[in-house]
């Protein structure tokens, strides 16, 4: 269940980076959750696309086995961490390069 462990770690790291390392506090802002809510259906759509056609496949021993929209539920954790990381870094660097 390597994917499960790392996906969970990625969320924890992204949250810690956002709240304490870069202090961008994205998670406390409504616009972040609004953005996440907009992207989530598109993530589910592309997940389903990639997994239902077997473009991407997962080893059974690397995931807990529960699936949502065709993809392992771990993908939801991965997607959340990617969105949070991206926006936290974007805000952090935007504040330092205001040209």
């Amino acid at each position: 269940m390597i994917y499960s462990d790392i996906a969970l770690d990625a969320v924890i790291v992204a949250v810690l980076v956002d709240l304490f390392l870069l202090r961008t506090q994205m998670m406390t802002r409504g616009i972040f959750w609004l953005t996440y809510g907009l992207i989530l259906p598109f993530q589910l759509l592309t997940n389903w696309w990639l997994t239902s056609k077997n473009i991407v496949m997962y080893s059974a021993d690397q995931i807990i086995g529960k699936r949502f929209a065709g993809a392992p539920i771990e993908d939801l954790l991965f997607g959340f961490s990617l969105i949070l990381f991206t926006l936290s870094l974007w805000e952090f660097f935007s504040a330092r390069h205001s040209d």
Partner: protein, 108 residues
């Protein structure tokens, strides 16, 4: 044509990005430095994870549905494009929603 299947998913994301940029008149290019810094971090983190997992076969790709160009011998080039296009789409979504909420607030 099946070799383009993964690329087609990415093309869909790219089309959405272009459509949203035009619709909301977003100029992400003017912030290319900020984007390079942001995506540099994202690629460093997620591609490392991706290569490591692909080497262990945690996940694998249908050789008939990718173009076949591989990074570090294991990772389809589509994965690199994914970690460029998805952050672009995330930032464009965030910026356009910011514009919409601002617009609504100004109208009140």
């Amino acid at each position: 044509m099946s070799h383009l299947n993964y690329l087609a998913v990415l093309a869909f994301i790219a089309l959405c990005a272009v459509a949203v940029s035009l619709l909301f008149r977003l100029r992400l290019l003017s912030k290319w430095k900020v984007f390079l810094l942001t995506d540099g971090c994202i690629i460093a983190l997620y591609l490392t994870w991706d290569i490591w997992a692909a080497k262990r076969k945690a996940w694998y790709f249908d050789p008939h549905q990718i173009v076949g160009l591989k990074l570090f011998g294991v990772l389809p080039v589509e994965e690199l494009l994914f970690f460029i296009l998805v952050p672009i789409m995330v930032i464009l979504s965030y910026t356009s929603l910011g514009k919409i909420t601002q617009w609504i607030a100004n109208r009140r």
